[in-house]
Amino acid sequence: MPNRYVSVAIVATCFSVTATNAGAQAIKPPVPMQHFTADEVAAVAVPDTAFEATPADVETYDKYFYFHRDSTDFDTAYNDISECDAVSSGINFYGGGDSYMTNYYIGQYGLAGAAGGVIGSAVADAIFGSAERRRIRRINMRNCMGFKGYDRYGMEKERWQAFHFEEGFGRVKDEKRTGYLMKQARVASGPKPGAEVLPK
């Protein structure tokens, strides 16, 4: 399957626009792939994923799950999870803009409308609420990691919470976020789980 189209062109996944030197910093580059040393990977504690599933656990697998893909190294898993996390959260990843800093300057200096588009949709959020936004993030992670060929496995809530986060209106701080994503990458690139593979 991954090599099905070896003879045809693969489209560049990054947005590319020829910018002049003077304005090269206006259009932000895509997030670069991160690399880790063996020591850095070894320093990431491997989360406990072993548990005896109860019927109550199974009922919440739509909320509590993790990903794994065979023959995937830590760097690849981390970058895949980071990409899906960014896309799921509505944060720029493929280049062109920087939504985090845009929102900062809009908030601090009142630059709304400078580039258009970044205006909070308070009405929609008031209707659907934070719980819906958390649900969307879960669905987006499933879709995105599914596209990347990762398998999905169910998890007991307490163990899941040890290396995952939920996100509604607020944004989980970067330090905590990165730590969790690294643990998820450790599991995603680790030994194949013995549990049943769930639908993507």
Partner: protein, 302 residues
């Protein structure tokens, strides 16, 4: 019935967006074109869409040199503005921080120091959001009951457009739907020409073998999962063609090409355009341009 199913699916996946679209397109109705109230102008582009039921979508005009130049100018002006304001902002922070340090109240916290604006950290938003274009489900160009059909004619700025997804844009710019953030198609819209996309957006994409359609409609916690339906088998085949009222004007079939990933600018449900035979395929999440492959094969290339 079909329309109801479509609407139900759209509502089931009705996902709030972070941002509001500021559209740069304009819908044209057939009656206004016939009466002379609306015109086909040589400097504008036109996107024609048809199909057996109402559609809605958001397209993004891909930045060209003019867009880049305007964006860079706006960015530089905005950066100069915030850099000018920064010293006063810093001074104000220093005063507030000093007061907070002196206060004996238990809950007094030192306010966060403002970030100094630099070319590296300053941003004004994604350049791809400069010219978003939307059509449907209302403001049809024409409709008929037997056979049931709806068409849309949208006046846009000429350029290259990426289909961003079947997204509903409400009044005020709030949105719901799926972004095709992880793979889609793009096509050229030439000035003075009606670019005919036919019913491509509905029936062009097929099934995605790794994501089979569910036996029952997705609902509850699973609403929004990527499980494409094969609308081509129900409403196909792929059909192009403009009505008599447009035949007096220059028109051409859209040439769809695979296009890469786009950010989830509006915080929507993340999806991708299902594979399109001869146009778009996937190798896991890598987008495969089948037309480029065919062209390379035809010229003896790899």
């Amino acid at each position: 019935m079909i329309r109801n199913l479509f609407c139900a699916a759209a509502l089931a996946a009705a996902l709030p967006s972070f941002a509001a679209a500021q559209l740069t397109s304009q819908s044209i109705e057939e009656k206004n074109l016939i009466s002379g109230k609306a015109k086909i102008e040589p400097d504008s582009g036109y996107i024609y869409v048809s199909g057996p039921f109402r559609q809605n979508a958001l397209l993004l005009r891909l930045p060209d040199e003019t867009t880049v130049a305007a964006y860079e100018k706006d960015w530089a002006e905005a950066l100069a503005k915030v850099q000018k304001k920064y010293p006063a902002k810093l001074k104000s922070w220093e005063q507030r921080a000093a007061i907070a340090r002196q206060t004996k109240a238990k809950n007094a916290t030192i306010p966060e120091k403002p970030i100094e604006p630099t070319a590296e950290n300053f941003a004004i938003g994604a350049i791809e959001l400069r010219d978003p274009v939307s059509f449907g489900p209302q403001y049809v160009f024409a409709k008929s009951e037997s056979p049931e059909s709806y068409s849309y004619l949208t006046k846009v700025k000429p350029g290259r457009y990426a289909y961003y997804g079947p997204i509903f844009v409400a009044g005020g710019g709030a949105m719901a739907g799926f972004c095709y953030c992880m793979g889609t198609v793009a096509f050229e819209v030439k000035p003075g020409v009606i670019t005919d996309t036919g019913n491509f957006f509905l029936v062009g994409p097929g099934l995605d073998p790794d994501f089979p359609p569910p036996s029952t409609p997705l609902a509850g916690s699973e609403a929004g999962l990527y499980r494409p339906q094969n609308l081509g088998s129900q409403h196909g085949p792929l059909r192009f063609g403009v009505p008599e009222s447009l035949k007096a004007f220059p028109y051409a079939e859209a040439d769809f090409r695979a296009y890469g990933k786009l950010d989830n600018f509006y915080g929507l449900s993340v999806g991708r355009m299902p594979p399109v035979p001869g146009v778009l395929a996937y190798d896991r999440d890598k987008i495969v341009d089948l037309k480029a492959g065919a062209a390379a094969a035809g010229s003896g290339g790899e």
